[in-house]
Amino acid sequence: MKRIALLTSGGDASGMNAAIRSVVRVGYVRGVEVIGVYSGYKGLLNADFHPLLPRDVSGILERGGTILRTSRVPEFKEKENQLKAIENLKAAEIEGLIVIGGNGSQSGNYALSETGFPTIGIASTIDNDLWGTDYTIGFDTAVNTAINAIDKIRDAAVSHGRTFIVEVMGREAGFIALDAGLGGGADFILVPEIPFNIEKIVENMREAFRKNKMHHLIVCAEGAIHGRDLEKEIKKYMPEADTRVSVLGYIQRGGPPTRFDRILASQLGEHAVDALLGGEKGKLVGIKDNKITLIPLKDAVTKRKTLNEELYRLAEEVSV
């Protein structure tokens, strides 16, 4: 294999740049030309290809976002567009493709691999919802940012004796909420995977008030319930509750990657290049049980990664 392409797709995640850097430089060391595809799958359709050399990726290790830019392209689900992408790759004499991204992006990648073209995925999403991997690039940074914010919010909660609802990202999965909640010392954590009972929450809050604990921190994933709606629900039972809502939103996405994400991204980049050169295809590179492993793309995107329920139980126990 002499020439491979690289793209980032879907939501940006901190550490994507570190992965780009690793792919480009490892590719260079292995004697492979690395072509950057701009704006994700859109760039595959437009043949927006630009060679990347080791110096092109200088100074990006510590930067959030992705220098290759990203996009969400719903029409990429159509077969003819996928075939057009392969055609464009072949016309540029590109023999393999690496896709850095999360669930949706790897689904697209899986579709491409089904045509027989050699592709490899790098697990990168702040949502951490790729089956077969323990952690995806960007998750650690996002959770650290969320914990940092919760720490700051706690100052206000304690000072004013208020109930703060902190809404974090996670439409279908509660990974961010669980880790941010446990790491941030939340009193309640609401995730899409586990049903919750408002009355029970309110009862626990009343019990705490009786013990003179006046402040509460509730972390909710946007997919479990929106912060504002939760506030309304609580007020139904406790009109007297002094509540505030903070939606962390896009702040969670960006920023310099943590040491964990930088190292993970560097490792996954290297393994992705080596997997392609070793003849692997249709696989996702991720970390599992502290080892870099290859997971069939099909499994990674079709099987549902479950929340660590032991961790959830622990969070309940330590918020007693």
Partner: protein, 338 residues
Amino acid sequence: MKIGVLTGGGDCPGLNPAIRGVVFRALDFGDEVIGIEQGWKGVMEKITRPLSLNEVDEIINFGGTILFTSRTNPFSIEGGPERAIQNLKELGIDALVAIGGDDTLGVASKLFDMGVKVVGVPKTMDNDLSGTDFTFGFDTSVNVAVDALNRLRDTARSHKRIIVFEVMGREAGWVALYTGIAGGADWVLIPEERPDFDAMCKHLEKDFERKGYALVVVSEGTELPIDSESEVDQFGHKLLQKRGVAEYVANLIKEKTGIPTRSAVIGHMQRGGSPTVFDRMLGTRAGVKAVDMIHQGDFGKMAALKGDKLISIPLKDATGKPKLVSKEWIELLKVFLK
């Protein structure tokens, strides 16, 4: 002497260093310090605890306030001021240090007129208190906001979007101004200037064409065409949280320019966190100065930062009229809108 100390209004980083400064300096005079909890509410309900060296020794790096706070206003309660004065007497408090923004200091000023020996220590994240160059809390909160804006830049650039970022600032746009200049925003909306949305959108289109993204910082108090009467608190302030300024501005940009635009609100995380060195130093110095003022009989005044000196100025001069962003600052801001 028995000195009472309280913190009122919104919490902000630097309150704990100020409390600590009061206690440390009071020890030099052999004073006893009584912490009054939850601001003026603690005066009304006599919620106090003694403050010793041990209790304040390690709080220099804590955000929030160990004395808790509230927005209780004795002057909006029937017979409130009289009860406050009576309670202070019963607690044996000879002099009071009130740490807070213009509401808390406004109460202090009125109580001084009624004979209470009180000195003020100004705090506000918004930095909108007249008579002081800076108040503690501002530096920390702007640092948090700048950090957040730079995170948003990563996302905006990656997705080719405009992001509208809402920061605190009710009447004055200092937080938005500093965040905008120090964080490298492409447009800044502040309460002092009626927004020119057409000019903004034109400018953002240009920025977007040049670099593929743009960042807008907006003050929560920015004037919007939709403004009407809304909920107010005990001091008569509008509760701004539900107005959704960032969302409004983002929708407007989306409609006018067709560029994908998102909004983000910093909210309460901007309030807390470990104070920066600047805020620790300012809080500490102001706490020390307040005790010195008490021993000089310099009541009815507050410890204000002027240049590099802490001086005492009348509470009346500080409260009432907010310090707004001046024309010179707006000119400076415009240098960076290109």
